[in-house]
Chain length 206, copies 2
């Protein structure tokens, strides 16, 4: 039983880059067999279908991405500083990702006219990613670090749209220029439009 | 000969939504036969390979997208107003697109770890799209409508990243909320950070 679970996890981990790079349709059984070193029966003893394996591979790739993006942020006390680090991590900590780029972007595009089960996973991942940013913003409001009038829904949408869009450009252009531009824009947006203004008295002391 | 060219164009037009929705690997011969009403031989009499058909289908879908995004903009004299209309068109004129969303976003993600010929087409499309925006900005600078210090490369990158990223969100969420947020942000960014400031004397007269 324990060995079976270990094999199952290994298959997911090895299948994840195949699905993330080639998409659901593009990932051939031969690719999965080569990556895992198993025969068809050895793979599908552990999964009901290619769809189930793809869904679990997506979850694994997505958890890895979220871990990279949150790395070193929990210990940042100020919520706006923390958001700025999340934005920087999106650009800087891409080496830890499963090969093939952002699993959310890939799976969203791959499945938006297709596979509804995989699409539902991507939708959940997007909602959770937006909610995570919104929670930091709400915490910031409660602590007086984020402007009370800031629209947390709009800000989280701007951050995710900008980052995911610029990642598409950067991957196509094979350099990080677009990511650099958008990360810088978002950092400055958070600084000038989201961070609570200091009271005038403090401003003078600073 | 003339009839052959007409058939060729028909095949491209009918294959374009298949490739745009299903991707290169996902587009099966059976899908292409059903869409065109032709047998395999009838399709491949006109194209050397699936790759060639996909490349021409991409070009067709992309031209359609660019036409939608530029609709009604040529007659707008002020360059910043024109850019704002291009941004609004991205959200509002999506009905004219080949089914399946933005062909650039789809093809970039579909091919960034795959098909190099199709990837090269997507790369050309992106470069042309960025250049088109940059040309409007440069024209704006020459006419004193855009701030002289504006970085046209950065601005065009911000626009394309934001629009393409928010389209991913909107398609996954099946509503236009994310597009609305980003279009509004970009319009306001163009207004407050890109449009040349009026001289103080004019500001007072206004």
């Amino acid at each position: 039983m324990r060995k079976g679970q270990q094999t199952r996890r290994d298959i997911i981990r090895k299948a994840a880059p195949i699905f993330n790079q080639k998409g659901f349709e593009g990932a051939a059984l031969s690719d999965l067999m080569e990556a895992t070193g198993l025969e068809k029966g050895g793979i599908y003893r552990h999964f009901k279908s290619k769809e189930q394996l793809a869904a679990e591979a997506f979850d694994y790739a997505w958890e890895t991405a979220v871990d990279c993006r949150l790395e070193g942020t929990a210990e940042i006390a100020n919520t706006v500083d923390r958001l700025q680090q999340v934005v920087r991590n999106f650009r800087e900590r891409r080496n830890g990702l499963v090969a093939g780029g952002c699993p959310l972007l890939n799976t969203a595009i791959d499945t938006d006219d297709g596979n509804p089960r995989l699409r539902a996973r991507a939708r959940c991942a997007l909602d959770a990613w937006l909610l995570l940013l919104r929670d930091i913003l709400e915490e910031g409001k409660a602590r007086g670090e984020v402007r009370p009038e800031a629209d947390v829904w709009q800000i989280s949408t701007l951050i995710v749209s900008g980052l995911e869009g610029s990642l598409m450009l950067s991957r196509l252009q094979k350099d990080s220029d677009a990511l650099d531009v958008v990360v810088q824009h978002l950092e400055s947006y958070l600084e000038t439009q989201v961070r609570a203004r200091k009271p005038a008295s403090e401003e003078q002391r600073a």
